[in-house]
Symmetry: C2
Subunit: 214 residues, 2 copies
């Protein structure tokens, strides 16, 4: 018999028992909710309680708290990529703008894991793919003259980080605030009469941001 505890990933091999799979989803949902309201320092006991399962169940599905957070982060990054893919289908170069509005909604809906969004484990591939998709969206929108030609991919990161700042401060009391902030930021990204003087983060800096661990 294999050592207990080594087979708990559902990735390789046999599927989870039906109830176990359901509990896994309940735990992820509960974690998203609890982290969103109490921050990442919320206790795992609270998460298990909200999910309606015991601690043993939580730790059978996820090796530790960090892995639970990482999974939420991967979900959110996947959502971003999906949104970017859908937006890329739109004509007229509006894809980037539509994408950013969707990103705002996704961030607002799952605002618990901001601190780990760029630095979770095993997210390098996802972040890289997101970057690539954003690059394409940006190029398309610039080709159509909707976004200023001197905007670069890391400017879009700045927009997303800005939204994170607004959402993490204001979300509970002013859930619409990020929309106004995004409207302002898009206005700036469109108007190309005034040249930008400050330097955007370089690719080197961006990769350092992604690699930095908590």
């Amino acid at each position: 018999m294999a050592l207990p505890g080594t087979e708990q990933v559902l990735a390789e091999g046999r599927p989870l028992r039906r109830d176990a799979a359901r509990h896994r989803e309940q735990l992820l949902d509960a974690a998203a909710k609890v982290f969103a309201t109490q921050g990442l320092s919320a206790s795992v006991e609270e998460i298990a309680r909200v999910a309606g399962v015991g601690m043993g169940t939580l730790y059978r599905r996820f090796p530790n708290k960090e892995a639970l957070v990482d999974e939420l982060v991967r979900q959110q990054l996947s959502d971003f990529i999906e949104a970017a893919t859908a937006a890329a289908q739109l004509p007229g170069g509006v894809g980037l703008e539509v994408f950013l509005w969707r990103v705002g909604e996704l961030l607002a809906a799952r605002c618990g894991c901001f601190a780990r969004l760029w630095t979770g484990a095993n997210t390098e591939r996802l972040v890289e793919e997101a970057r690539l998709r954003i690059h394409q969206l940006l190029a398309d929108s610039q080709r159509h003259g909707r976004i200023r030609p001197d905007a670069v991919v890391s400017d879009i990161s700045l927009v997303i980080w800005s939204l994170m700042g607004v959402i993490s401060t204001a979300q509970t009391a002013a859930p619409q605030a990020w929309r106004r902030a995004l409207e302002l930021l898009l206005l700036a990204l469109r108007s190309s009469e005034v040249p930008l003087l400050e330097l955007a983060p370089t690719p080197q800096e961006m990769s350092e941001i992604i690699q930095q661990k908590a």
Copy 2:
């Protein structure tokens, strides 16, 4: 004789002994540095170590960890007010813009306490005064035609929250990133050709944000 422990605030009555006052400053400096690098969850022991004092000293000067954070928050809010006051002297309606550049620098220099900036204890007066000063700066800049007439005070809050988001994500790897973000945001606040459609946070929402406790 008074109960021990009731007199430790320096507010009412006798001044602190010279060495005690110095230790208090050392503790605040150490706390700012440690929180900036390790976040608010850094241990009190680490702060005492960096300050070069024992735990007893820390707890004689501050009733608990939270009070230490609150004092740092009050310092930063005071810095904002001071910056606003200085900027208000400038001619030509440039005060608001100068103020925001200064706010960026202040935020970047003391980036440890963002989570508590608006919600620390006993900060209501300071936040209210800051709001008032910003209101005056905004009105002045609008009178001179430098800022779009439909901008409101809570838009400036949005700018500050956005900077906080950029700084807390990128500060270590890309310490200049917030400048580019501010440049974009100011661009949007200046260009008044396109009207803003989304609603800025209302005064009610703003006061809820300030009142929400961790």
